[in-house]
Amino acid sequence: MAQITASVYSSHVPLIGVAIDKGMTQEEYFKPLFDGYEPGRDWAAANTPDVVILVFNDHANAFGLDIVPTFALGMSETFEPADEGWGARPVPTVVGHPTLAAHIAHSVIQDDFDLTLVNNIPVDHGCTVPLSVMYDQPEAWPCKVIPLFINVVQYPIPSGRRCLELGKAIRRAVDSFDEDLNVQIWGTGGMSHQLQGQRAGLINAEWDNAFFDRMVNDPEDLANMEHVEYVREGGSEGIELVMWLVARGAMSDLAGGAPPTEVHRHYHVPASNTAAGQLILEDNS
């Protein structure tokens, strides 16, 4: 039986990837950020899954405005790192898990989530930076990855409630997959940041830290937060945090199990224009 054993929540700021790619992590600007990632890296090394379902958004590198799927699942055997305008990151090809992806697609769509299924699609920093945060610079990523793209760029975007419920449906899907697989689900993006307009540079540490607490302790209530609150309090691009709810929805406490165990939490300002956050929860089913 496949099982979701943990969820990870992580910012996916491009500059974090640049710092790793260019060996800058020990520079004064980056050191506090990367020191805070050490416990997460130790945990990741000791808890390497077979597959990560990696929830993120495309940033105008894969879909464009010709196709704007709300939820899109990556079905392929491989996904190449995208050139986002600065050249592609020098990171390994992301290797998928087509049979588990097919099973999830079948189950989740029958569970009333109308996923778009995609093959032959590049993955951008939203997918590759969290992998680098956890696994640094390996020759190959240590696990398979099923990318799950969420539209958080063009409104209307899915509600927090819808994201949480999608996570629950993904858990049901994984639970019914026959092969023995250790699966993690990662929700990425955020935390507070605004990349546009005269209000750019907004950071709200108090709100971010309350968001962490509610994510751990009361996700059902957090799922009711309106988009406008994310934007007003956490900045226009802070809306990415709704994607964390997909990962949280897949924890077994929301299906009658025990609450997850918080393993690690890290918060640092700034990474470029962003408040970087990380949270690791182990499932207790």
Binding site: A60, D66, G197, G201, V269
Partner: protein, 142 residues
């Protein structure tokens, strides 16, 4: 009856909704084309010729020539698409983002190191009735 857009009450912020996306379709697809290295070279070599290949409005083209990112967003651009214009110029995100604010890149970088822009006084349009951050800075406030 119009659609409910509660986000219009947030100052200095343009939400990229379906109306903005309709305005900015060609502008954004032009910008997205710059994810390909050969297109970045073509654009850098002859900006006007490259822009003329896209059915954008003259205002949109001028905003691109001016690298006026606030105007680009107003005319339907989205930041993730249009940041690739900055990438083609060799700019990073702090440089692109700061160009929309009262600060230059160095001051913006320092503001971020100091904890970023506070949400205090920056949540509602009425809080900017006396002027946006640039106007406040002009008057020597804060």
């Amino acid at each position: 009856m119009g659609l409910d857009k509660p986000y219009l009450d947030i100052p200095g912020t343009t939400i990229f909704d379906t109306d903005q996306a309709a305005l900015g379709y060609h502008l954004n697809m032009f910008a997205m084309s710059l994810k390909d290295a050969e297109n970045r070279e073509l654009f850098a070599a002859d900006q006007d010729a490259y822009l003329d290949k896209w059915p954008m409005t003259e205002d949109q083209k001028q905003a691109v020539r001016d690298r006026d990112f606030n105007r680009i967003l107003e005319l339907g651009g989205n930041i993730y698409y249009c940041a690739k214009i900055g990438a083609t110029d060799g700019l990073n995100y702090v440089q692109i983002v700061s160009s929309m604010t009262e600060n230059d890149a160095e001051a913006h970088r320092q503001m971020m190191i100091d904890g970023g822009r506070s949400p205090e006084g920056n949540r509602y349009l009425h809080e900017w009735a006396d002027g946006d951050p640039a106007a406040r800075k002009e008057r020597g406030e804060h």
